[in-house]
């Protein structure tokens, strides 16, 4: 069966510090991968998605970047965090092709920028 991991679970970082959040998927190959941010337990904002290694699409211009160095690894980064980067970050995957309709979410990372 497929599983998705995210770490760390919680993170407190000062303004101006770098960020690296990691997401890995097991039990599938060539998944579509997604990074979302959720503010105050409300709607999800799609930040990045990837359909393959090195292929990243950015949805919202911002202080963050994403990379996919391996097939099942998706990394969210920032060189200098802003207070507005605080939130709940969720990684998700979906199968490619016709079956790729449902998305499967990781447990999330709670980021607080102080």
């Amino acid at each position: 069966s497929q599983t998705i991991h995210q770490w760390p679970a919680t993170l407190v970082q000062p303004v101006g510090s770098p960020l690296s959040l990691e997401c890995t998927v097991e039990g599938t190959s060539n998944p579509n991968l997604y990074w979302y941010r959720q503010a105050a337990g409300r709607g999800l904002q799609l930040l990045f998605y990837s359909v393959g290694i090195g292929q990243i699409s950015s949805e919202v211009p911002q202080n963050l970047s994403a990379s996919r160095p391996q097939d099942r690894q998706f990394i969210l980064s920032s060189k200098k965090l802003l207070l507005s980067d605080s939130g709940f970050y969720l990684c998700a995957w979906s199968p490619t092709g016709v079956r790729g309709y449902e998305q499967y979410f990781g447990p999330g990372t709670r980021l607080t920028v102080t």
């Binding site: 337990g41 709607g43 999800l44 799609l46 969720l90 998700a92 309709y101 998305q103 499967y104």
Partner: protein, 115 residues
């Protein structure tokens, strides 16, 4: 932009009652999905309804879709305290264009079921 909009924003009911949540969207869709999120956790997929379907059931869940009104509803029958969570609708656009393949989530409905 967030296409799906849920209504109500919050719903509080007693165990055993039915809970109905509504979702409206703006553009043509391939399918509409409902997800559940327990506090501080990731989202869990509940049910998917395609644009050519009008109703779908899964256990105590019933989803309807009205593409002419661009709206959907999620009914949870005989609710339980364990159903307490946030519920989100998500739309997948019709094939073609740069937005194909991605989901757009609504703001969610917070459901509280009192024992």
């Amino acid at each position: 932009s967030q296409q799906g909009e849920e209504d109500p924003q919050a719903l509080s009911i007693q165990e055993g009652e039915n809970a109905t949540m509504n979702c409206s969207y703006k553009t043509s869709i391939n399918n509409l999905q409902w997800y559940r999120q327990n506090s501080g956790r990731g989202l869990v997929h509940l049910i998917l309804i395609r644009s050519n379907e009008r109703e779908k059931h899964s256990g105590r869940l019933r989803v309807t879709l009205d593409t002419s009104k661009k709206s959907s509803s999620l009914l949870i029958t005989a609710s339980r305290a364990a159903d307490t969570a946030s519920y989100f609708c998500a739309t997948r656009p019709r094939a073609g264009g740069t937005s194909y393949g991605k989901l757009t989530f609504g703001q969610g409905t917070i459901l509280t079921v009192h024992p």
